[in-house]
């Protein structure tokens, strides 16, 4: 987990996208709650865009 945080920091610095930090924080928080609330689901009718 620590190495992922380090990588995210390196990535935001390289791409000059520090503004994404609060966005990532918020979305990860919401996403984290969703993860806890449900199992992973598959999207059956869509090209693998994510």
């Amino acid at each position: 987990m620590l190495s992922l945080v380090k990588e995210l920091a390196l990535y935001m610095s390289a791409r000059r996208k520090w503004w994404l930090a609060p966005v990532i924080g918020t979305l990860v928080l919401v996403g984290g709650l969703l993860t806890l609330a449900q199992g992973s689901a598959l999207a059956p009718f869509i090209y693998t865009v994510f």
Partner: protein, 611 residues
């Protein structure tokens, strides 16, 4: 320098091993696990590549993944942010997958590789290439060109959906890009979904269906859905699509525009689906031709390399070749994401490590795409014996003669020889073969062997030295990625009544002296067979030519619908026993269906989910 390339976690995961700039092994995971489009970490493929190269993981200098997960995550977050609050449906599906797995891809790769390493030194070796950089590298560095324009088009990678790079020696510089959500691959996939086929596997069915239709929706697509510029750049009106925010490809507005909801896959195909297929194919060709003409004009380089999923559209490729904006066109045989494994390894070798460029032979650096596992004759005999097969072993020439006997009799012949192909096409190593002159062959192969839709045409494997006598193409097409027309002297003229037939009714009218490989528009998806890359297959077709005067065979992949192409002699035997194939030739072992123990016959097709 040994470099291992890996593609995984989306679809068609694969591994490739590059030694001093030469691909020594490459394979898709699905061939080992028997799960079509397997997206899991390609452990079996990695183990195979290392074994084929005679090295352990500790002897490998770098392991390169074919895309950059964090950039993809960035694209997702920015898309959700731009569309919020719309898009919550996709967000709540995608986020758990990312937060549990996909954000940790680096750790997952290292963890999966660790058991293969004695030293435990894995993470330090990991590199990440960009998705379209991997595609471009797989096309340029495997091509026979010193200099080329490299065009990659697919669904989407990180941000790019179309990219243009200039390759020169050991460099490859991206000069133009079209970015998400504007994507030619996704436009094609949207119509694949709308016509009732499976996204990301049914696209080639749409391409096969197109010649039965009339492109009556082409103008509508270009007027409403796609804004196309003279230089080929395009913009998709997102109100017609659902893939950026939802869980389907097309929106209600799209359905209203084209007159109804998507076809249910259980419903029969009608003229409307054929016309839709013809229309999206025509739009795709228009876009690709505008792009290639503009690139030829702008850069003045005579060579073009193509890769990315859209480069598997061999009808469009054939048009690019005939358009002559570029003198030479080379398409990476593993143009889809599996080929990204090879491209990622190339990118590390040339772009990261700055090694001098090597072009390995006159045809290209892919060795005919025969980069997968092979089996020695003694091993084949052991394996077939254990599987319960009854077979006769012959000398090499005798094996060829008996195979030609079977083909002349009208048998469907399973042909399992040498190293397996890398890429989606069977090229005479894991193929089912037939006599193209036989008017029943297309129907027999589709309905009794492949268990698939009867409209789909078959491809000819033609001796390279005879291709120009039969087809309107002068160039090699070793990977079945170019479509060309049959020469007029081999066509059969249609009667007035036959001319009036519409759609699928056209299928039953023989159109040439080789009806099994002639599509309704007189086109064929050609594979030229070269003595240099596959001498045994070349010798077989030559023996067939010596007897019949016909220098080609029908070639279709050795599998049934929904099954990965067979990987081992046992897979081949099972498929042989589960279908109505009459003869199987594995190495120098010849098997006849009538001599087999019928207890091994099984309901084979039910084992695989339809694609």
């Amino acid at each position: 320098m040994r470099i291992l390339g890996i593609s995984a976690f989306y679809h068609d995961s694969a591994a490739a091993l590059l030694v001093d700039g030469r691909p020594v092994a490459a394979a898709q995971e699905e061939r080992f696990t028997r799960r079509k489009h397997d997206q899991r970490f390609p452990e079996s493929a990695v183990r195979y590549c290392l074994a084929e190269g005679g090295v352990g993981l500790d002897d490998v200098d770098h392991v390169v993944f074919f895309e950059k997960p964090l950039l993809k995550f960035e694209r997702l977050l920015e898309t959700y942010l731009a569309n919020a609050p719309r898009g919550f449906g996709q967000f709540k599906t995608a986020m758990p997958v990312w937060l549990k797995d996909k954000l940790f891809q680096k750790a997952a790769i290292a963890k999966a590789l660790l058991p293969m390493s004695v030293s435990g030194d894995v993470e330090r070796k990991l590199l990440f290439a960009e998705h379209h950089q991997s595609h471009a590298a797989s096309a340029f560095f495997a091509s026979p060109f010193e200099e080329a324009v490299v065009l990659t088009m697919d669904g989407v990678g990180e941000w790019a959906t179309t990219s243009v790079a200039i390759g020169h020696g050991n460099t490859l510089e991206t000069v133009r890009e079209i970015r998400w959500p504007h994507s030619l691959g996704l436009l094609y996939s949207a119509f694949t979904y709308y016509t009732g086929f499976k996204v990301n596997s049914g696209e080639y069915k749409v391409m096969g269906l197109a010649p039965y239709g009339v492109p009556r929706f082409k103008d509508l697509i270009l007027e409403k859905v796609v804004k196309l510029k003279p230089d080929g750049s395009f913009w998709l009106d997102q109100s017609y699509f659902d893939y950026t925010t939802g869980l389907t490809m097309t929106s209600r507005k799209f359905h209203d525009l084209f007159g109804g909801p998507p076809r249910d896959s259980t419903q029969p195909l009608g003229q409307r689906e054929m016309d839709l297929a013809a229309s999206v194919q025509a739009v795709t060709e228009e876009i690709v031709l505008r792009i290639t003409r503009e690139l030829a004009r702008a850069y003045g380089i005579p060579n073009l390399c193509l890769s990315g999923g859209v480069a598997l559209n061999c009808v469009a490729n054939g048009k690019v070749l005939r358009d002559r904006a570029f003198e030479r066109v080379w398409v990476q045989p593993a143009a889809g994401d599996a080929g990204g494994a090879l491209g990622a390894a190339y990118a590390a070798h040339y772009l990261h490590l700055n090694r001098p460029r090597v072009v390995w032979n006159a045809l290209d650096g892919m060795d005919g795409a025969y980069l997968g596992p092979a089996f020695a004759q003694s091993d084949i005999e052991d394996r077939l014996m254990r599987a319960g097969a009854r077979f006769a072993v012959h000398g090499e020439i005798d094996t060829l003669e008996r195979s030609v006997d079977a083909l002349e009799r009208g048998d469907a012949v399973g042909w399992f020889q040498g190293r397996m192909e890398f890429g989606p096409r069977a090229l005479g190593a894991r193929s089912i073969l037939g006599d193209p002159r036989n008017p029943e062959m297309q129907k027999t192969l589709n309905l009794k062997i492949k268990y698939r839709e009867s409209f789909r045409p078959f491809a000819p494997s033609v001796l390279a030295e005879h291709v120009a006598d039969w087809f309107e193409i002068g160039e090699p097409s070793p990977y079945m990625l170019m479509v060309a027309d049959l020469r007029p002297e081999h066509r059969r003229a249609m009667s007035e009544t036959e001319e009036k037939l519409f759609g699928i009714e056209k299928l039953n009218v023989p159109r040439s002296s080789v009806p099994a490989i002639t599509h309704v528009d007189y086109s064929a998806r050609i594979q030229t067979v070269h003595k240099e890359t596959n001498p045994r297959y070349h010798a077989l077709i030559d023996a067939f030519r010596a007897r019949t005067g016909c220098p080609m065979l029908v070639n279709t992949s050795f599998n049934v619908r929904g099954e990965p192409i067979v990987g081992t002699p046992e897979d081949a035997f099972r498929c042989f026993m589960g279908t109505e194939m009459e003869t199987l030739v594995v190495g120098n072992c010849v098997l006849s269906k009538s001599e087999q123990n019928q207890a091994f016959a099984e309901d084979y097709k039910a084992k695989f989910e339809l694609d």
